[in-house]
């Protein structure tokens, strides 16, 4: 196609060709083309098929307000082709077709509309329930737009940016640019967001006169240059604002340019004040086949020519209701489009200058006429027009119908921020009624059409927004009054048309293109009793499609009011919600999809063959071989010595005169009796007595304590302790040492022999016994906090080492342990080892409702410290003696059968409990586990029936036995 190359408004460079693939064939577009304009240039008129009836669809608004031109681009479904710039090598496919968009085998569905009335699914697919799976399968085949597989991973780079500003202006048209310039001149920081890739808005593509000899296009360029010259305006083009919230938080997304490091990025702006200058979109004219390819809105037809250099057709009929239509007709006529006729909905009130030009060019103009039907099976061939009352009609052959009922303001940004709208009879608009605090509207939103008025309203809004910023100059109130005075002298809002539908029955007159909803469907919904637009919207799905209500948004409430004969004041717009423009989920997700913490030993354990798993916020070595039963690791700990990286443990220092009081508040034990050098195992409960954490507390010095928490609770511990002491004003301080200290757990009968080789203190059982704490240095350099604990049930030293020395100590132990066959063991081996000792892990042997007494830790609780107001103590006192609670029991399986899976249910004729952890124990040579069961099943010797998921009639049987299973006297950890 030859393009109109001489236009100053052109945004494409036809000398720079871009190749792309469409339906397997190579085509060329020009640099600056969108996918849609490139396809159109190559003769594509039918872009896809509609959701329900598989009707052919084509270019309509050119701003992505409907799903007509959603296509699959590079494997990504539902790409809005009108807003997506063409890139080299793009692969483009049509959607929702069986065959091709031209010849869709499902096209017959268009004739089946009688079988699919409004609310079809609700009414017809109701009973019998049996047919549902079958019907669903068939419907899913026929309906729905793009296809995507569940494991699809979105390609591309996504970013996010969080900004602060004084004034945020939404819309880079004349009003928005004026507002931004006004605020910037006050020295304020301004952000300007424009959804198209360039500034200029309503002026940018028009050649009409702005003032004197300057065209609107030149004026747009002039303003854009001024904006770009202002250092304190941060400009975001190709950026849609998709959410506006109270407190003036604005969210949006930006499409990356070639040189940007992102494809799309999420933008969140916190502004002091906001100017909404989002302008207008066109209100669709509703007549028969009003979405046939070849029917397009004024802006679409005009911008195809002026921006992309393509005449949208050869012979055209206009059916319009706004001066922009007359202006477009003149411009397109001058560019070579043959205009058969202009049907103007308005009987009078047209701009006289435009009327004279139309008369001079001898373009036939019919006032008070409107298009009633587009003819042509796939694309427009003819059009019928009639007088508004439907009395007289004419038919013209044509390949293009430019149709638009009038303008609709883009008010979503105002209502989403909880501003209110009111129907205005003069403009036919929903005008801003109560604006959100520090938010101002400007420009065509008010129904302004005169270029000078549009700019003046932008200036006024900019001054007001600037005045809201404390840093604005004090003289601005006077300037605001001045600007208001100027506004009153300028042309005000223009009268808008009220017509919604041409005189048609409406069976094929579409009010919503995305959801294939017709005027007839709306009538059916109203007949069924859905009398409010908000309900009709849901029942017919009108406006629920990917266009976010851009097409039916205004027409629906207007039509419903007209049909019901309601007075104007009762007309209410339907609600809109963010995102106002369809946004990719990956844009919201942004960067850093795989986030986790690593311990200081991460690298070394990986070298040693560690198999890592994400556990909570951490990545930890779970296994050290591909034998996930960990037999070797376990046996080595039981027989020789093993080494575990326990750095994920929560580690805290709590000190100060009121330290004991704070500990007593959250720990169930009596901390005042704790002696220096001794370790106390204790637990924390919540206010319901449910156990949330366990760990050990050590007294390091006077009023100075060191304690550990479980890995999962480390993040909340400071918050928890401060929360429960927030009224007391106690004098204590807390330091989170979780990341600055690492932990090595050296366990096994040979642990002492290994440690002796690298430290010079006496490690004998008499000098450093079980449950004792010592601080010492390794090589006079590395400070160590050492604890003798027995989590895995063997002689163990838990060494707390500064993170930066972890690697050194690890290597020293490994060297020293060589002769004793030291080996790594991972989290799973530890899990089995501690389970054999019936040492619990919270979250595994407990869930949210499990209290301290249920898991058998009641002995930790000191009930004689009421004055401490320990968190959970009141609830524990109430829970004591409650026979209905679960109890933690140990069990062995019968007949030497395997261990049930964790989480398997304990049943008889109903569920009586569940298995917490169960494993085949190598140390005991049988399967053992712990389970939470109803109290009456907790007696030793009780037979447990264990049900696993999908086990059918097969059951595993177990018997309640005494805990612990391994080394009941605890000799091995105390040796």
């Amino acid at each position: 196609m030859n393009r109109l190359n001489h236009l100053p408004t052109l945004k494409v460079d036809t000398t720079d060709k871009i190749a792309f693939i469409y339906k397997g064939k190579k085509y060329y577009g020009a640099k600056g083309d969108t996918v849609a304009s490139a396809l159109f240039a190559n003769g594509v008129r039918i872009f896809g098929r509609s959701l329900k009836y598989h009707r052919p669809r084509g270019l309509y608004s050119l701003d992505g307000e409907c799903s007509n031109t959603c296509m699959e681009v590079d494997g990504i479904p539902n790409v809005r082709c009108e807003n997506t710039l063409l890139k080299q090598g793009m692969v483009i496919k049509e959607q929702n077709v069986k065959g091709s968009a031209e010849n869709d085998m499902m096209g017959f569905l268009d004739k089946m509309d009688w079988a699919m009335p409004a609310g079809f699914y609700y009414n017809v697919m109701h009973k019998p329930a049996m047919i549902w799976p079958l019907a669903m399968k068939q419907i899913r085949k026929a309906a729905g737009l793009g296809k995507i597989s569940p494991d699809y991973e979105m390609p591309g780079k996504f970013d996010e940016v969080f900004l602060n500003t004084d004034v945020c202006v939404i819309g880079g048209g004349p009003a928005g640019m004026m507002a931004a310039l006004c605020a910037a001149e006050k020295g304020l920081r301004v952000i300007l967001m424009e959804s198209r890739p360039w500034l200029g808005g309503f002026f940018e593509y028009r050649s009409g006169v702005y003032k004197d000899r300057q065209t609107l296009h030149d004026r747009a360029l002039h303003l854009a240059n001024e904006v770009k010259a202002q250092d304190n305006i941060r400009l975001f083009t190709h950026t849609s604002a998709v959410g506006t919230y109270n407190n003036n938080l604005i969210t949006g997304f930006q499409i990356g340019k070639k040189e940007d490091v992102f494809d799309e990025r999420y933008i969140e702006i916190r502004a002091n004040s906001v100017v909404v200058a989002a302008g207008c979109i066109e209100r669709p004219l509703i007549f028969d086949n009003n979405e046939r390819p070849g029917v397009m809105q004024i802006g679409c037809a005009l911008r195809m020519a002026k921006t992309y250099g393509q005449l949208p057709g050869k012979r055209c009929v206009f059916s319009i209701g706004h001066d922009l239509g007359l202006e477009a007709a003149i411009e397109l006529h001058d560019l070579g489009l043959s205009i058969a006729c202009i049907a103007d909905i308005r009987e009078d009130g047209q701009d006289t200058v435009l009327l004279k030009k139309i008369a001079d060019k001898k373009i036939p103009l019919l006032k008070g006429w409107v298009a009633t039907k587009a003819h042509g099976r796939k694309i427009v061939k003819k059009v019928s027009i009639s007088s508004i009352d439907g009395q007289i009609s004419k038919t013209f052959s044509c390949d293009l119908i430019v149709a638009s009922a009038g303008m609709t303001p883009v008010t979503g940004h105002i209502t989403v921020a909880l501003g209110t709208l009111k129907y205005d009879n003069h403009t036919g608009f929903f005008l801003p009624d109560q604006m959100p605090e520090k938010m101002y509207a400007a420009g065509r939103i008010f129904g302004l059409n005169d270029p000078i008025s549009i700019e003046a309203s932008g200036m006024l809004a900019g001054l007001k927004a600037a005045h809201d910023c404390e840093r604005g100059s004090t003289g601005s109130l006077g300037e605001i009054r001045e600007a208001e005075k100027v506004m009153t002298g300028l042309p005000g809002p223009v009268r808008g048309t009220k017509l919604v539908t041409a005189p048609v029955k409406g069976r094929k007159s579409f009010i919503c293109f995305d959801e294939d909803a017709t005027i007839k469907n709306i009538k059916q919904a109203i007949e069924k009793g859905f009398d409010v637009p908000e309900l009709i919207k849901r029942f017919t799905a009108t406006g629920l499609g990917p266009g976010q209500g851009g097409i039916p948004g205004h027409n629906l409430p207007l039509y419903v009011a007209r049909y019901q004969g309601l007075p104007d004041v009762s007309i209410r717009p339907t609600n809109v919600r963010p995102p106002l423009v369809p946004t990719l989920i990956s844009t919201y997700a942004g960067v850093n999809h795989k986030m986790f913490k690593t311990t200081p030993m991460d690298e070394m354990q990986k070298k040693d063959g560690g198999v890592f798993r994400n556990i909570g916020v951490w990545q930890r070595a779970r296994y050290f071989s591909d034998d996930f039963s960990c037999k070797k690791e376990i046996e080595n700990v039981r027989n020789n010595v093993g080494m575990l990286d326990g750095s994920t443990l929560g580690k805290f220092r709590l000190h100060g005169p009121d330290a004991v009081k704070a500990l007593e508040r959250v720990f169930v034990s009596d901390m005042s009796k704790l002696k220096q050098g001794r370790i106390k195992y204790s637990a924390m409960c919540n206010d319901d007595g449910c156990v949330i954490d366990d760990g050990v507390v050590v007294k390091q010095g006077e009023n100075d304590y060191y304690f550990t928490t479980s890995t999962g609770r480390a993040g909340q511990t400071v918050e928890w302790i401060r929360y429960h002491t927030r009224y007391d004003g106690w004098n204590f301080a807390m330091v989170n040492l979780t990341d600055s200290l690492g932990v090595i757990n050296l366990s096994g009968p040979n642990a002492r022999k290994v440690l002796e080789k690298i430290v010079d203190i006496d490690l004998s059982n008499e000098a450093f016994g079980f449950s004792e704490y010592k601080e010492f240095m390794i090589a006079d350099t590395i400070p160590i906090r050492a604890m003798r604990l027995g989590f895995v049930g063997e002689l163990s030293y838990e060494l707390h080492v500064p993170a930066s020395f972890m690697k050194s100590v690890w290597i020293m132990l490994k060297e020293a342990g060589k002769e004793f066959k030291i080996q790594n063991f991972g989290v799973e081996a530890q899990n089995v080892l501690r389970m054999e000792k019936c040492h619990i892990i919270l979250g595994q042997e407990s869930e949210q409702r499990t209290n301290l007494l249920d898991v058998g830790l009641g002995f930790l609780w000191d009930r004689n410290k009421a004055e401490a107001k320990t968190v959970g103590s009141v609830a524990l006192r109430q829970a004591e003696g409650d026979k209905t609670r679960f109890k933690l029991v140990g069990f062995k399986t019968e007949n030497n059968s395997r261990a049930p899976r964790d989480g398997a249910l304990i049943v008889d004729d109903k569920v009586r409990g569940y298995v917490c952890t169960a494993r085949d124990s190598f140390s005991l040579n049988e399967a053992v586990g712990m389970a939470l069961v109803e109290a009456e099943l907790s007696q030793i010797g009780t037979r447990l029936e264990i049900y696993e998921d999908e086990c059918g009639d097969d059951r595993i049987y177990g018997k309640v036995v005494a805990m612990p299973f391994y080394d009941p006297e605890g000799k091995r950890m105390k040796m």
Binding site: F162, Y245, N246, N247, L249, R270, L418, D687, D688, V718, E719, R722, Y723, H724, R726, Y727, D728, A866, K869, S873, V874, A875, Q878
Partner: protein, 100 residues
């Protein structure tokens, strides 16, 4: 999150940085003679006012302190501390200025 919160130490910050800590209900009651009902009231029952309420927030991504603010639950905006108590202004939880 549209909410901003003024931390007494760090100043006005984005609501993302904070964690909600419930309505202001006063200090923990004495355990002596505490009935289960009274305890349950204290722990679990909330006023849930539609209007301005006094509530606790924790600056988790900041200084790590607990503090109280007034917030209008209908607009999700932080409010100035009400100085004079007007009968129409509903203040949820805690002691009012008059009682204090």
């Amino acid at each position: 999150m549209a909410l901003t919160i003024t931390c007494p130490i760090c100043g006005k910050r984005n609501g993302y940085e904070f964690k909600f800590g419930g309505e202001e209900k006063g200090p923990r009651p004495d355990e002596k003679d505490l009935t289960p009902t009274a305890w349950c009231e204290y722990v679990h029952m909330n006023k849930c006012v539609a209007g301005v309420q006094e509530e606790w927030w924790f600056h988790k991504d900041g200084c790590g302190s607990w503090f109280k603010i007034h917030r209008d639950t209908t607009t999700n905006l932080e409010m100035e501390v009400p100085k004079v108590k007007h009968p129409a202004a509903k203040i949820g939880g805690g002691k009012s200025d008059e009682q204090a």
